[in-house]
């Protein structure tokens, strides 16, 4: 099966994020950049499917030249080749999905696997938008993906439990945390990755509308919560919750 995995470069989840004083963005000095953790899970799932069924795993990202690093990491995990759609300006989810839909038209994968959300903007939109633009079924928040011929059955993490849906390929699946535990790139994997194909395509050569319809005007730091006080015992805790905070 040919699987396309769109990935994003994001700050390491362990990074402390600080908003710049002028509100134009976040401070990026000292930020370590990684593959969005949910996309890493998507790469892992794609590799496992390929290991079982054969096929090809193609990574794609839309960003600056430096994003090659994350594509190389994904190639080192075992993906076959990668595409960088070069674009320096910020794009909104609609434009990202349009670009992906265009490339998918040329690449013809049977499955697109991507993270349910990027942990920087926390939007949780691209997979669903892409599925609609392609006219394909979607399964978001996947915790299990099973195949029988061309039919896919997906277990989804939803409110109140687990839901199961099914459809035929081609389809878009977005990953949740419990789908798998991504592997690390091995040393031989890293060596091999250097020789794998990484193609760059300028975004403006694709002929899709890139003008953002969602604009971020400014960022502000959230209100800070003050630490309260330590209590000495369980009895004291219950007492203050009852008489002072009046919540029990």
């Amino acid at each position: 099966m040919k699987i396309l995995v769109p990935i994003k470069r994001v700050p390491d989840p362990a990074t402390t994020i600080r908003v710049l004083p002028d509100g134009s963005g976040i401070a990026t000095d000292n930020v370590k950049w990684v593959i969005n953790p949910f996309d890493e899970i998507a790469i892992e799932e794609a590799l496992r499917i390929k290991e079982k069924q054969g096929g090809e795993v193609v990574l794609i990202t839309i960003g600056q030249s430096t994003w090659q690093e994350q594509l190389r990491t994904g190639l080192a995990m075992g993906a076959d080749r990668a595409i960088l759609i070069k674009n320096d300006a910020a794009l909104d989810s609609l434009a990202l999905a349009r670009i992906l839909a265009k490339v998918i038209g040329d690449e013809n994968p049977e499955l697109v696997l991507l993270g349910k959300q990027a942990i920087d903007d926390d939007s949780n939109q691209v997979g669903q938008m892409l599925a609609e633009m392609l006219g394909w079924p979607q399964a978001t928040f996947a915790s299990k993906v099973e195949f029988a011929d061309k039919k896919v059955t997906v277990t989804r993490e939803v409110d109140g439990g687990l839901e199961t849906i099914a459809f035929n390929l081609p389809a878009v699946v977005t990953t949740d945390l419990r789908l798998n535990e991504p592997r690390y790139a091995s040393l031989p994997g890293i060596m091999k990755a250097r020789k794998k194909e990484l193609k760059e395509i300028p975004a403006d050569s694709l002929g899709v509308d890139l003008a953002p319809k969602l604009k971020i005007k400014t960022l502000a730091a959230p209100p800070k919560r003050q630490a309260g006080r330590k209590v000495g015992s369980v009895q004291e805790l219950v007492q203050v919750l009852h008489t002072e905070a009046k919540v029990i």
Partner: protein
């Protein structure tokens, strides 16, 4: 112009609190943008539920009916709603960012060619919106540009709508769903059985983390306290990943966002991803044996103690309090 179509999600034949939140946010948006708030209930026979939501202050309810809308699936719902948005000439579509809202709204936005704002926490008078980014470490002011806009709201950021004096009229509409937009088969829903309040609806939430060490300890140590307090139970990602509790209990950036009157974090370190899901709670209590744990930086009351001793004691104290 300015009309707001509110997606009234229902589960198991009733509206969860998050739907009433969507209604209230929709009423606010309609007021600020100078339009009407219209609720839409989708289903195979949505009339009875439509009559229910009509009592909450909207100007009209549309009961959108089609056999393919019996169970929620994204493609059929997006197709039916998109056709309705066009027909009704609405400027906004609004839903709460529940699992269904998150799944549906972007697909609907793409079908409408509309920009979408995820999980907004405020509607500004000047036409902009506020939404958290970076696990709540940045609050963005954003602008949406286009004739139609799709918005999901964070359930904890808006109050639930209250019943109004009179009920709005209900209009039945037969949905149009092209077969090409009905490719998804709903197979089953495996509901987590629980008699406790819903996480997103409870006044008190007691959450356990890796410090509980096992699913058995959740049962024998944490649950008696949860029940003594009449609370909903939550968990950290670490506790869910380890299989101690079901996935839908995860609180955090990539789980549920809660803001109860009282949040009790037990054996949870307070990673930024967890804080993103609970730091707007009114009162936060932390019980942790490590006095340096970051959870204490956001806790109103911290107790440095071994949870295996403190939690049963607290359950006992709660019982005494109830009988006093």
């Amino acid at each position: 112009m300015g009309d707001v179509l509110i997606f009234a999600e229902h589960q198991g034949g009733h509206f969860p609190k998050t739907t009433l939140t969507a209604v209230n946010a929709g009423l606010e948006l309609a007021k600020k943008r100078g339009g009407n708030a219209i609720a839409v209930v989708a289903g195979d026979a949505p009339e009875a539920l439509a009559g229910e939501i009509a009592k909450y202050g909207v100007s009209k309810v549309i009961a959108l009916a089609h056999a393919n809308l019996k169970n929620y699936v994204a493609d059929a719902h997006a197709a039916a709603l998109a056709a309705l948005v066009k027909k009704a000439g609405a400027e906004f579509v609004l839903a709460t960012a529940t699992a269904v809202g998150k799944d549906l709204a972007p697909r609907l936005a793409a079908r409408l060619g509309a920009p979408m704002a995820s999980e907004i926490t405020a509607i500004n008078d000047d036409g902009t919106y506020i939404r958290p980014m970076y696990a709540g470490n940045a609050m963005a002011t954003i602008e949406l540009d286009g004739p139609v806009k799709v918005i999901t709201v964070r359930g904890t950021a808006f109050d639930a709508a209250k019943p109004a004096d009179s009920a709005a009229s209900v209009e039945k509409a037969d949905a149009e769903i092209d077969p090409s937009a009905a490719k998804t088969e709903f197979v089953s829903f495996n509901q987590t059985k629980s008699d406790r309040p819903q996480l997103t609806e409870a006044r008190i939430v007691v959450s356990g983390g890796r410090g509980l060490k096992s699913g058995d300890n959740f049962k024998t140590v944490l649950e008696p306290l949860v029940d003594e307090m009449g609370a909903a139970m939550g968990a950290s990602r670490a506790a869910v990943d380890a299989g101690f509790v079901p996935n839908d209990l995860q609180v955090g950036q990539t789980g549920k966002v809660v803001a109860p009157e009282l949040y009790v974090a037990v054996g949870i370190s307070g990673a930024i991803q967890h804080l993103a899901g609970m730091k707007d709670s009114k009162i936060i209590v932390a019980i942790n044996k490590d006095e340096e744990a970051p959870i204490f930086n956001v806790a109103d009351y911290g107790l440095v103690a071994d949870l295996f001793k403190a939690v049963p004691e607290m359950a006992e104290e709660m019982k005494k309090l109830k009988h006093s």
